[in-house]
Structure formats: C-alpha cells, structure tokens
Amino acid sequence: MTGGPDALSLVEAVLLVSPLPVNLQALRSATGLRDAEVRDTLAALEIRYAPETSGIVLRHVAGGYQLATNPSCAEAVERFREEARPAPLSSAAHEVLSCALYLGPLTRGGVSAVRGVNSDAVVRNLLDRGLLAEAGVDSDSLGSPALLAVTEDFLAATGAASRDDFPNLDSLVGPEELARVRERLGSAEEPPESD
C-alpha cells in the first residue's frame, strides 16, 4: 500500500457511478483533488478510454464528463437490452408501489411514514425504472416536496388498463387500519416544527 488510490482511480470510480455527466467542480469536491490534477487525470482517461481501443469511452458533454458505451458497440448493447431480464422488484419496491397506487400521489415523506422506514433509495430506484414519476408538488408542505404517482409503465407491467382494475382500498383493510394509515400520512405531510 502506498497510501490510498491514485487520482486516476478516484475520478474513474466517480464517473462510473454517475448516471449524468459530472462537471469539474463536482469531480474536485468528491475526489478532493486540485483543479490541475483533475484536468490531467481527465486527459489520461481520454487516452485510456479512447474509441479505438475501448468499449467504454469518455465523453465530454453538457458541461461535464461521462463514461458511455462506444457507439461501435451499439448493436451488442441493444441486443443485450432487448434480451436482458429486468431486475426483479424487491419486497420494499412492492411496498412503495402499493403506497403510491393506493394512497398516491404522495410525497417521499408520506411513503416513509406509512412504511415506517426511510424509503428514499427504493423510491429513487423506482423513478429510475420509470415505475414511479413525480406528478406535481405538495405546495402545502414545507419545501414543496414532489408528489409521487405510479406511471403508465407500471400499469402496463401489472397488465392493468387503469387504476380501477385494482380492488378498492376499503376491501383490503378494515376502517381502523385505514384510519391509522391516514393518521400517519397526515403527520408526515405536516411541516416539521422549527427548532
């Protein structure tokens, strides 16, 4: 060990996990490198990920840097996308979707309150997968958080034509349970007290 990863590795790792182009400022603050170091590193990565030798290329787009597939490999990528089995949904994802379906549109805070655990990561995954979408904001709450709703893609994945294809909420749980759900939702939507 010579004392931690080198500059090139750090920048490479950050670029791998980012779905969007990363600008110089964000690269600096994540890696702790100085501006000149980041620039030198990007120049080195441009060689490492050159279109002539690599299936992964470094693109400089939209004010930032991004790893992307080499267009020459597009056919293989498309074939893979066509054949790939979608990652199955977790139990947590089913829970979040059932909240959005039956109680939505509701905020991330509302989902977390009903489930009793922080659900941000699950929500992000479902947004990425196009099964949830932001449908307006809750302007009554502090910071006007986004409201989440299920999408057409979600309905298609369940084989339902519309939300009406699902049984009524009243038929699923008793009035006492329903009252508790509403109570929790209500307290989540209230603006947090200032301290």
């Binding site: 791998l16 379906l101 893609d153």
Partner: protein, 245 residues
C-alpha cells in the same frame, strides 16, 4: 444441582464472566458463550445481571438500537422460558402450552449444536460482507424495455394489505411485562423476604404464566448471588424462598 459447583459459582457476578454483550444476539448465544467459554452450568446464568449489563452497555445513539433492544427483550424472554422449561417440567405439564413442552438435555444440546453451526456461518458471512464492502455498480444502466417487466397484481395487493395492516399496533403488553418485571420481580422477592420465608406458590398466585416464569428466574438469580436460599423438601414439592441472614 451439584453442590460443589454451586459453591464455586455462588457470589460470582456476571461481570466476572468474560462476557461480550456486543456480539450477543439470542438466548442460545448466551448459553453457548457461558457453556463454552466460561464453564458455567446453564441454569446459573444470572438473568437480572444480564439485563443490568445490557443496559449499562447500551448506546442509544448507535444505529439499530431499536432492533437491538427488541432482540434483547426477546432473547431475555426466551431465556426465561427456556430455564423454566428445563428446570420445572412438571409445572409445564398442566399448562396449555402447545410448543412449550419441557426440553430434555438432549433436545437442548441438539438445538444448541445446530445454532452453533449457524452462528459460525454468520461469522464467516460477516467477514465476507466486510471484505466486499464499498463496491458500487455502474450508473450508466440502460432502462430495460418497457413491457418486459411483469408485476403480479396479486402480490401487489397482498403487499398493500400487509403494509396498511402493519400500522395496527402489535400486541406488546407481554414485552412490557418482561422488561419491567424482570427487575421488579427481583425487588418484589427481596421485599417479601424482609418479613420471612415466602412460598413460590403464594408469591405467584395472581401472576400470569410469563410473570411466574420471570419470578422463578429472578429467584434463581438471587439464589446464585447468595441473596436467598431455595428450599424444596421433596422433588416437585412446594418451593420456598428463604432470606439469607
């Protein structure tokens, strides 16, 4: 119980045992730790001290505190039942318990052996999780084609039913009783002893099954600390607690 062993462990407090509560996760683990490392007879696990030790080491700010507390309360309750089942099989015979039949040493040994293997498996898993932490996968993921994913409506509806029903408070009164009365009952016994010997039957006349079991375990702990003596003139006969002068 073997008299010389009893003599040896009398007055020995839990802090004398090399106990690392941090890694404790259940009654079987407690029993194994005491059996394998500390050479203690299982029926001398001083429960009351275990609670005190746990509370003393408890750091509320740490992650998973609620989970750890729940585990601890559950484990303590299980240990109480285990002790009472192993020590007083006759008391259980008249009871309504279905799964709570008395446990023979062979059965307990079997359970502990299986648990020991699973626990060792858990330790290797911990090492593997640690060695494999910090890998993050690519963010350049292509969304799969819409229409390829199938979500089962039945599963979704079942999930909704479960999530929304979960909000009804689960019955926790028995948990409350255990955590409170473990110490309370030890105090109750000591208070009762101030005015002379007390019979177990009188003491637990108005208690439910679980409280009786806790009272019994509390008495055993007090006895192992040398604070009272147990007298039972004949096997399965009436049990009396006597104060130690």
């Amino acid at each position: 119980m073997d008299e010389t062993h009893k003599e040896k462990t009398r007055g020995r407090s839990l802090s004398d045992f090399t106990v690392e509560l941090d890694v404790y996760s259940g009654p079987y683990e407690w029993l194994l730790a005491l059996i394998l490392r500390d050479e203690v007879e299982i029926f001398e696990v001083p429960l009351r001290e275990l609670v005190a030790l746990y509370m003393g080491n408890r750091v509320p700010e740490r992650p998973n505190t609620l989970e750890r507390d729940t585990d601890f309360a559950g484990s303590a309750a299980s240990l109480v039942l285990l002790k009472s089942r192993a020590l007083s099989p006759a008391a259980e015979a008249e009871a309504d318990g279905d799964e709570e039949e008395s446990l023979s040493p062979e059965q307990l040994a079997e359970k502990l052996s299986r648990y020991l293997k699973v626990k060792r498996g858990a330790e290797t898993l911990r090492e593997r999780f640690e060695a494999n932490a910090g890998f993050y996968s690519s963010g350049q993921v292509l969304r799969s084609r819409p229409g390829r994913l199938r979500i089962k409506p039945e599963r979704l509806i079942g999930t909704a039913r479960r999530v929304f029903s979960r909000l009804t408070e689960p019955p926790v009164s028995h948990l409350g009783q255990i955590t409170v009365t473990l110490q309370d009952l030890a105090t109750l016994i000591r208070t009762s002893l101030a005015s002379g010997p007390v019979s177990y039957e009188d003491l637990t006349r108005n208690m439910d099954r679980l409280n009786s079991a806790v009272a019994f375990a509390a008495a055993l702990s007090l006895a192992s600390e040398g604070r009272l003596t147990l007298s039972q003139p004949e096997p399965l006969g009436p049990l009396t607690f006597e104060p130690v002068p």
